[in-house]
Symmetry: C2
Subunit: 74 residues, 2 copies
């Protein structure tokens, strides 16, 4: 579903097509770098999320033990 | 620093260049979709991180109040 394809009807020369081709190549290379960065950011955020979930669980465990001690004098 | 530029020396025809140009266009469009998805994933993960940090802080607050109560009988 890509609307505007390039076509020969516009009367572009090979030199122009080549220029456009190289411009797009550079765009693709830049996007690849950007995507690599984003992938690494996502990986790092998932690690942080797991770590924080563990910290919440730890605290809940400590608090529920404290409640049990108070209730039952364990 | 993009190594292999396309050049006319390879004797490619306009039709071939055009085909390549449209292939690149499709790749760029697909990468844009992918990048949008990744951006949205990163945004969501940052929201989750903030929420979890708040949950950890809440629990630390509750626990330190409990410690104070026990120590000073407040």
């Amino acid at each position: 579903t890509f609307d505007h394809s390039y076509s020969l009807t516009s009367g572009t020369t090979s030199t122009e097509l080549l220029k456009k081709l190289n411009e797009q190549r550079d765009i693709i290379a830049l996007m690849e770098v950007k995507m690599k960065e984003m992938k690494s950011t996502i990986r790092q955020l998932r690690i942080t999320e797991a770590k924080l979930r563990e910290e919440v669980r730890d605290r809940d465990r400590i608090m529920s033990m404290a409640v049990l001690r108070k209730k039952h004098g364990v």
